[in-house]
Symmetry: C2
Subunit: 316 residues, 2 copies
Amino acid sequence: MDEFELIDQIFHRREDQKSWVSVGVGDDGAVLDVTPGKQSVVVMDTLVSGVHFLHAQPADSIGHRALAVNLSDIAAMGATPRWATLSLTIPDFDGEWLRAFAEGFFKLAQIHGVALVGGDTTAGPLAISVTVGGEVDPAAVLRRSGAKSGDRIFVSGRLGGAAAALSCEEASTDRALQQALWYPEPRVDLGMELGRLAHSAIDLSDGLLADLGHVLKASGDLGADIEADQVPLFDASVSLLEYRRALELALGGGDDYELCFTAPDKAHQELLSIGSRLGLEMFCIGRITREGGCCVRGGPPGLADITSGYRHLWRK
Amino acid sequence: MDEFELIDQIFHRREDQKSWVSVGVGDDGAVLDVTPGKQSVVVMDTLVSGVHFLHAQPADSIGHRALAVNLSDIAAMGATPRWATLSLTIPDFDGEWLRAFAEGFFKLAQIHGVALVGGDTTAGPLAISVTVGGEVDPAAVLRRSGAKSGDRIFVSGRLGGAAAALSCEEASTDRALQQALWYPEPRVDLGMELGRLAHSAIDLSDGLLADLGHVLKASGDLGADIEADQVPLFDASVSLLEYRRALELALGGGDDYELCFTAPDKAHQELLSIGSRLGLEMFCIGRITREGGCCVRGGPPGLADITSGYRHLWRK
């Protein structure tokens, strides 16, 4: 059993569908109808050493990442982040490590105007759990479930960089790929703009095909046609790993923390100009179809079966 | 360096004192002035196996406890809990354990009308991190900092039961003491009533003297006189451990999850009638003084130096 089945089976409770829970478990974040006029958004992500990062990587990159993955969920809801809580479990006291960790965390928090409002530290195996709360205009909530047949499929930024950095020694020391792995930039500003334009959105943490699969399923078992040659790759990934492997990692690698969203044709020009204003590359990589699952068209011969992304598997 | 110093040094940032953060890091929870008319309260606590619970204890008691310790913080802020997020890190998939864990969690959630709105599960060493959000009338926020010289000091319920259960084999199998350790009851209903009456409040997690010390410090270095014979003990604790040890554990043991609060004389009668209405024992154990730290008066001869409660210590 994997984490998705586990959550479905044990943690989806009907009694949590209270009238004021507008979006509960199962999307990138929860939307709570508590504030008149505004909705609160709450997200949570835990990072475990050896699973989501290596203790050996720079501590500031771990602090950055712990907040970034949550802000990425906030962005995928179209919300404005406001506050965070941080739970830090550490095996040993190491002041230098902790200061660097905090530096990475707060630097990113400051960029996005996020206040750390609570949390705790405990002794134990290195793990970090962060909760972030934000607000969103009820009319601008981005969900996974709004995709429509005929929508264009977009992604912000290039994909597969983090997975490439993890794939071999040479790629791991490439500056652009290492940056993608260690310091992913959550697309918060973009998420806030998309509320008016996009039909659906998700952040890419498990891999493009896996995450797009969540959107297709949530939107009523729609399909998607992805044009292989439109999937944006890192130059370094292509040159170090060859095109086919770079594409495979962009489709199935995970840890991109870019936004994938769908929007009607008429929004295309405005989306490109938003990207230009925010200094973000935006790519249209295909279309939503009525059915048929997710197809990658025009890929190179011998493209490996793309796994359905990263899942935590337990021994059973 | 212990966790309090660590938090002070690294995680208290001036930039987090935003205008809409009414109470930030340093109290039992954060109070955010986001909602017109209501304030949001957010709390977070992490439990690590072997530190905060034993993997061998019933899984439902671990689920109960993970939520209870957070609800206790919510209660200490005078708030009404609304939502929770849960991060669960588990080494192995064990469906039976997980179901029992969830049972304990949701049973308590239902009692208090709390919706689980998000979270994640990851593979790794057993640890649980929970964030709870609630709401409070801005005029009814309970802080640590409001104690006044002359206030009476109250506690809800009896103290030292959990610590007694951990202290010896015989006590660990006593039903009342085991219940206090495994299934602490957060005093949410009481907290909501106290906003109008109490000057300050804290929940007892680190031990009475340590937690009362936080109140005294936050209220401007006040003092406290505790009457030893008024400190409410568990009968089983006294009979199994003898009076002196039971008192020591009530003063310094921790893990009580009762509320300790201060209120003026005129509130005494109304507090007792609230206790009676809620079916809660309430005890006046002493008074706040102008200075002089925390004194325990009339204790038995040979009362051990009471430690300042439970702190996580790292090797340095």
